[in-house]
């Protein structure tokens, strides 16, 4: 039982729409897992299901989420609240989602800490300054006195990272933490997340649309499509030798500097309320064969540490 997080064929429904269709993954302490896939494939839903914060109408309809071996569906709401923030934390693409615009950043740090234990003002201040300095944020006092709109987007996102990490959780779920940032700040944010991992041993699940971010950060990569993982493995293996046609399409869509135009894939994933027989990508796949349409595919190992759900993998 060495996994920190283990997800066992998790299914999530919003009404009749099945957004996650049986997804499994495991994450060991201190490892970084990158999650890629186009918008609407269920990445955010996965993170929210782990946190127990599905939107109203959403429910886990099958499978389990195990955190340190405990099935989170058996944990009470109050205990779940205490886990959030102190043991597992979630950060968002838009720092506006992390901060209340009408209160100072310092107050929001304090409020978070005091929700998980009693801290004297001095003690809290020490912790917060330490965390901000660890992220190379200068002038922690000024930042704490500021309102969110008084900081630049990049500063605010780093403050949001500090806030998510203030109680040194074992697991950080980061939902496109770098998408709203320019390239330089993005690189900085990636460096900082990795530094936090090295310093506190935090395991991270990071969603990103940037293959570069995933390649830099992640130990393992999962490619999601229409509520399923279609390819899963060590970062080097998956990104250098993508086997699933969807992974290849994603990689081909990355803009390049050598003048070649990125190639787009036509169509969109099947809507979650459709119960697709066979492979969900079949309709957009150039390699699609007759058997792809009536057999659903499961992740199968192709080589050590590299799994693909495709009948025609590597063709």
């Amino acid at each position: 039982m060495s996994e920190l997080l283990r997800i066992d064929s998790l299914r999530v429904n919003y009404g009749r729409a099945e957004v996650l269709k049986g997804l499994s993954l495991e994450l060991r302490p201190g490892r970084i897992f990158g999650l890629v896939g186009e918008s609407g494939c269920g990445k955010t839903t996965l993170l929210r299901a782990v946190m127990g914060l599905l939107e109203s109408g959403g429910r886990i309809s099958g499978g389990r989420v195990l955190f340190e071996g405990r099935d989170l569906s058996t944990v009470s709401a109050e205990e779940m609240r205490r886990l959030r923030g102190s043991r597992m934390s979630l950060m968002f693409q838009n720092p506006g989602e992390s901060f209340n615009p009408t209160r100072t950043i310092g107050r929001q740090f304090l409020e978070t800490m005091r929700s998980h234990g009693s801290f004297s003002a001095n003690e809290a201040m020490e912790n917060i300054s330490g965390m901000l300095q660890c992220l190379d944020l200068k002038e922690p006092e000024r930042i704490l006195k500021s309102y969110p709109y008084e900081l630049s987007g990049g500063m605010l996102q780093r403050a949001a990272l500090a806030l998510a990490m203030i109680l040194k959780p074992d697991l950080l779920l980061a939902d496109e933490p770098t998408s709203a940032l320019d390239a330089i700040v993005q690189a900085q944010a990636v460096k900082e997340m990795m530094k936090l991992r090295d310093e506190f041993g935090t395991a991270i699940v990071v969603i990103s649309h940037s293959m570069g971010v995933v390649a830099r950060m992640a130990d393992q990569v999962g490619v999601m499509y229409a509520g399923r993982l279609v390819e899963y493995g060590d970062t080097g293996a998956v990104l250098s030798k993508p086997l699933h046609p969807y992974t290849r399409a994603l990689m081909a869509a990355v803009p390049r500097l050598d003048g070649r135009w990125p190639s787009a894939t036509d169509g969109a994933p099947p809507p979650p309320e459709h119960n697709v027989r066979g492979c969900g990508f079949a309709g957009r796949c150039q390699l699609c064969a007759a058997e792809c349409l009536d057999r659903s595919q499961v992740l199968e190992p192709v080589e050590a540490g590299h799994l693909v759900a495709c009948l025609r993998a590597g063709c």
């Binding site: 609240r81 959030r84 968002f92 992390s98 901060f99 209340n100 209160r103 998980h116 008084e150």
Partner: protein, 302 residues
């Protein structure tokens, strides 16, 4: 703000100018005797009523600036004296009705929002609709019947004391509260849907902190404006309730002045209303700034 008040004085004076019957007629006829045209003319000249509109207006404005609103046609007493008799009573009634409304509607609105679409929410919704649709005079009579006549707990009419204040305040607060509960509920629900609430929950912030220090604070912004407008309206006097409860406030005074065509008193009343609305809006804007740092910031940057 100042231009608004000037506009009000112009319209106020203009309406008085074009309305039938002038001060000369009113004061002489009020004495009861029929008077000849010459006497009337002489009196008009004496009062300066035959001068051009602009001259009269500026004369009136000058007096207004000194707090001189003229004299009541009906009693001959200075208008200011008439107003200042009713004013404290109206302020007292408006204040207690507003306080009651705030104390009841904010907790109930919050409760309705947090328990959205549950039995509690539905009961509060039904209550609000009843309160909104019941005319205040009906409620007033019901209250008088129950607490005055049956239970004999409170005086049936009047008395400006604390006991006499209860029933009119409750009557006024009932209608206001019904509207306020809906507004508070809507504002709180809107705030609960914002990203920062999810963010706070994702950090395990206690629901209590989220609700009281974050959501409620932000939801109060639109409510402050609403409180301002409602309070302004109450300060204008509430004729129906004041008359039913024999409460000697501004509303009752205004109705009496209108029915007696006592224009100077009506004019004074209108000026008071305008001043109150301007002042209340100013106070609401200021408190809005205090509550919302972004407004503060935008102003400083400008």
């Amino acid at each position: 703000m100042i231009p608004i008040l000037f506009g009000v004085t112009l319209i106020n004076f203009g309406l008085m100018y074009i309305s039938p019957g002038d001060a000369a007629e009113r004061t002489l006829i009020a004495d009861g005797a029929r008077v000849s045209a010459e006497v009337l003319e002489a009196r008009r000249a004496e009062l300066g009523l035959n001068r051009p509109f602009a001259v009269q207006y500026f004369h009136w404005l000058k007096n207004l600036a000194r707090g001189d609103l003229g004299e009541s046609y009906a009693t001959g007493r200075p208008v200011w004296a008439v107003l200042s008799e009713s004013l404290p009573n109206t302020v007292l009634l408006a204040g207690s009705a507003m306080l009651l409304t705030i104390l009841i509607s904010i907790p109930l609105g919050l409760l309705a929002a947090v328990r959205q679409n549950t039995a509690v929410d539905n009961i509060l919704r039904a209550g609000s609709f009843m309160g909104l649709s019941m005319p205040s005079f009906v409620l007033a009579l019901v209250l008088i019947y129950v607490f005055g006549l049956k239970l004999k707990l409170l005086p049936v009419v009047g008395g400006t004391g604390l006991k006499g204040l209860i029933l009119p305040s409750v009557t006024l607060a009932a209608a206001l509260t019904s509207g306020f509960v809906r507004q508070v509920r809507a504002a709180v629900l809107e705030e609960l849907g914002r990203g920062y609430v999810l963010g706070a929950r994702a950090r395990g912030v206690k629901e209590r902190y989220i609700l009281y220090f974050n959501v409620l604070k932000n939801a109060l912004l639109p409510i402050v404006t609403l409180i301002g407008i409602s309070f302004g309206r109450l300060l204008g006097g509430t004729a129906v309730v004041e008359i039913i409860f024999m409460w000697p406030g501004l509303g009752r005074m205004a109705v009496e002045a209108i029915s007696q065509r006592d224009y100077p008193v009506v004019q004074g009343y209108v000026m008071w209303m305008a001043a109150i609305f301007v002042a209340v809006n100013l106070v609401a804007d200021i408190s809005y700034r205090l509550l919302n740092p972004r407004v503060r910031y935008a102003d400083e940057a400008a």
